[in-house]
């Protein structure tokens, strides 16, 4: 049944949120965000199959493009932060605290 795919998407999204809130390693946080984008993609594709229209698949394609851009810029920022601070702890990067 199609609902099982949507339930899987909810489970993956919740695991991604857990990764974002429980980990302090910036790489793991970035990859958890990627996992949440993947779960949203799965929901789009499952609804596209449910209605037998292809608009959901177009949206999934756009999410893939956004995720690729996000990974490229996010990794560049991580490298610059690691150069400056020498750490990977997301608590060290709270530069806007004043």
């Amino acid at each position: 049944m199609i609902e099982d795919y949507l339930v899987l998407s909810v489970i993956l999204f919740c695991i991604g949120i857990l990764g974002v809130i429980s980990r302090r390693n910036v790489f793991t946080v970035l990859m958890s965000i990627e996992l949440m984008l993947n779960a949203a993609n799965l929901a789009f594709v499952a609804f596209a199959r449910l209605n037998e229209t292809m608009d959901g698949q177009i949206l999934a394609m756009m999410v893939i493009a956004v995720a690729a851009a996000e990974a490229a810029l996010g990794l560049a920022v991580i490298i610059l932060l690691h150069r400056q601070k020498g750490r990977l702890d997301s608590n060290v990067f709270s530069l806007l605290k004043g």
């Binding site: 993956l12 695991i15 390693n25 790489f27 958890s32 594709v45 199959r49 893939i64 990974a71």
Partner: protein
Amino acid sequence: MYIDTLFSIFALIAIAGSLGLVLFRHPMQSALCLAVTMISLAGIYALLSAKLIFLLQLIVYAGAVMAMIVFIIMFLNLREKDLPEERERFTYLIGGAVLLIPVAWFMIKVMKSIPGVKNSIVGNGFGSIKELGQVLFTNWLVPFEIISLLLLVTLVGAVVLAGIRRESND
């Protein structure tokens, strides 16, 4: 039906991989777990007869994005002492689970209330490149152009980020 069996196998592998992503300490192990999750999600897209998304998931996500993440992790050459300590992560994990389980339960109830259909492979070019391209360039032309603008901004941003470092070093 073999589709349901395949879906169960892929779903179990995807959930196990995502749990590994959250629970492993070293980012390299987490990245490999995420690659496993993405490949099994590609199998699930194939079961949903989304042929082009299946290809894109394998090429762009499991190929390009994961290769870039693994490359950067190996480039930084992380050892055990470089990792953040994360002594309190299980507390946060349990607290987050307590917060999220009611939300997830509600969402699953909503998903179960959708009048579903039995999944079967759809033929007739559903989700293939030609049909998807026709929909993309007729109904979704403006979002497509905005995405191209976003990729351009990303390209310029990456060049600017790389350039600043070089000037400060000289």
